[in-house]
């Protein structure tokens, strides 16, 4: 019963929110949700499987441009272009992942960094298709006769899509699949000794996370309606890594916290934006070195210790 109540309250807030706040807040909510999708996808690869990607902005770019171009040039409806573009991003990840995942640690990070750069350069130079550095204007997406022109109408698409993807990721991580990925991160030697195929599951994690990045990219295009290669630089990839490191890896809440914080940070800092990249670097290092469990992990541990202290305090006094 309690669960039903909570769900109802959540649904009510979800429906009412866009009408209670101004358009800018709705836009930011959409942007946060898109980054949550990306962070969750990256968490499957980095948090769960222990493989670092510095190229996720590349997969987001593939999703954004593939869906945008399919809509513009093929007249494909948005609802079809979005998942197909994400599948395409996953396919691209398989092509580069197959050789790259034989690498490990820093070498994989370097290979994915290279991939991100290649994607960006391809977009810049394939001018006849992508309009190069001048950027690509996209029409407002439509679902059948329903035109999603405003941020409010997009909110009702983006938030549910995010919720579904979160649910799928949660199910995935709480299954034998999640356990197999986690075991690879903890000990590749032991994982393969119980019959877990490293190439198979690393490739799978890579493809899943590229799929999530592809969806995020497609939704990003629908939200801002203008794509340019500069939006998908390596800084963006580092920002995604910072999100999961700051929020806390291997937890949905952690990814949500990290994505929200780092989406809002530049908005709050305003004039200091030119120092953003430096800021991300410092944040990332600080968390990896001093708070590797992230905000959510630290919060959980603190709550736990309070609770146990509260439980033992009366008998101790």
């Amino acid at each position: 019963m309690k669960r039903v109540g909570l769900t109802l309250v959540g649904a009510l807030i979800f429906v009412a929110l866009p009408f209670l706040v101004n358009n800018y807040v709705v836009y930011l909510s959409n942007l946060i949700a898109i980054n949550v999708i990306l962070a969750i996808g990256l968490d499957i690869l980095t948090g769960w499987t222990g493989q670092i990607s510095l190229g996720h902005a590349g997969f987001a770019a593939v999703g954004a441009y593939a869906s945008g171009l399919a809509i513009l040039h093929l007249g494909m409806p948005f609802w079809l272009a979005l998942p197909l573009a994400a599948l395409f991003a996953a396919l691209v990840s398989l092509v580069i992942g197959f050789p790259a995942l034989r690498l490990s640690g820093h070498y994989l990070a370097l290979a994915t960094f290279g991939f991100g750069e290649v994607i960006q350069l391809t977009i810049i130079h394939a001018e006849r298709l992508t309009n190069g550095p001048r950027g690509l204007w996209l029409p407002a997406p439509a679902l059948g006769p329903l035109k999603l022109g405003t941020d409010r109408s997009l909110y009702f698409l983006i938030i549910p899509v995010t919720a579904v993807l979160l649910l799928l990721a949660w199910n995935l991580s709480h299954s034998g699949m999640g356990r197999a990925l986690l075991s690879i991160r903890m000990s590749e030697l032991a994982a393969s000794s119980v019959g877990i195929s490293l190439p198979r599951y690393k490739t799978l994690a890579f493809a899943l996370s590229a799929f999530y990045a592809g969806i995020a990219g497609g939704l990003f295009g629908a939200l801002v309606k203008f794509l340019d290669p500069g939006a998908f630089s390596v800084w963006q990839s580092i920002l995604y890594l910072t999100m999961i490191a700051v929020g806390g890896m291997r937890s949905i809440s952690g990814a949500v916290i990290g994505a929200a914080l780092l989406t809002l940070l530049p908005e709050v800092l305003g004039g200091l934006q030119s120092y953003m990249e430096l800021g991300y670097g410092v944040l990332l290092l600080t968390f990896i070195i001093f708070i590797p469990e992230g905000i959510y992990g630290r919060l959980g541990a603190t709550l736990e210790s309070w609770r146990s202290r509260a439980a033992t305090a009366p008998s101790g006094a």
Binding site: R179, S187, L189, S193, L204
Partner: protein
């Protein structure tokens, strides 16, 4: 009929020949000890059989199938399970989850089945969970099922590794120094457990071990390596009185 037959195995690292033309065979239901001074090549042989290392020459047949060149997960699939000299557990996972990883091949998780929580994989997961608890009980760790593996004392970590290996329902179990670091009482309990594994589960065991008391008391036959070569083979009594074995051990001790 041999369950595992290794013929003329040769493994080298650069110019160092770690294993030189070593042959050994295990019969179904046997416990074979593999002993020798440090650096004799015992762990190297384990790693070649399980696909972690490549051999330069030779052949390894398991149930008459050539397994040399297979990857570790493929060898595991054929029913060869192992433990590690420097314990390889999933430290951050609870004990139960550690054993559950051993049921990976039985659970066969797929992306769609997991993401959509389809009933068939969920049922396989539940069954594996029940069997994992039984295995924890078998090694005596059932009361700790929810604890993190890295919180366990050393001796119990070895038992947990054993339970995880048994989850594969192996035909052959390779144990790399399972008694190292164990107390006297723990070693006795381990010997009892290994006998039960052979008798009740019908598992054939290849045992690398330095603790002679365990090896001599438990093994049907023993193969002795020194500097990558087989210097003796036979019953515990025969091996113990072999002058070459005495020489190898005394030489190593005297150095």
């Amino acid at each position: 009929m041999g369950l595992l037959e290794a013929q003329d195995l040769t493994v080298s690292f650069g110019r160092l020949v770690a294993v030189n033309r070593v042959s050994l065979a295990l019969d179904q239901g046997e416990i074979l000890g593999l002993i020798g001074p440090n650096g004799a090549g015992k762990t190297t042989i384990f790693n070649v059989i399980t696909g972690v290392y490549r051999a330069d020459a030779g052949a390894v047949r398991f149930q008459n199938q050539e397994i040399l060149g297979l990857r570790p997960y493929q060898v595991a699939r054929l029913g060869v399970a192992r433990t590690f000299q420097n314990i390889e557990l999933f430290g951050g996972m609870p004990l139960l989850e550690n054993v559950l990883t051993g049921f990976h091949l039985q659970i066969r998780p797929g992306v769609l089945g997991a993401a959509l929580r389809l009933p068939a994989p969920a049922r396989r997961e539940r069954e594996a969970r029940a069997e994992s608890l039984k295995l924890l009980e078998f090694v005596g760790l059932q009361t700790l099922a929810a604890q993190r593996a890295d919180a366990l004392p050393f001796g119990q970590q070895r038992l947990l590794e054993l339970a995880r290996a048994l989850a594969l329902r192996p035909r052959l179990l390779l144990l790399d120094e399972p008694a190292s670091g164990l107390s006297h009482a723990e070693t006795d309990a381990l010997a009892q457990l290994l006998r039960r594994i052979r008798k009740e589960l019908g598992v054939t065991i290849l045992l690398v071990e330095h603790v002679m008391e365990l090896v001599m008391g438990l093994c049907d036959r023993i193969v002795v390596l020194d500097h990558g070569e087989k210097i003796s083979e036979g019953s515990p009594a025969k091996v113990r009185s072999d002058p070459r074995v005495v020489q190898a051990y005394l030489g190593a001790d005297g150095a």
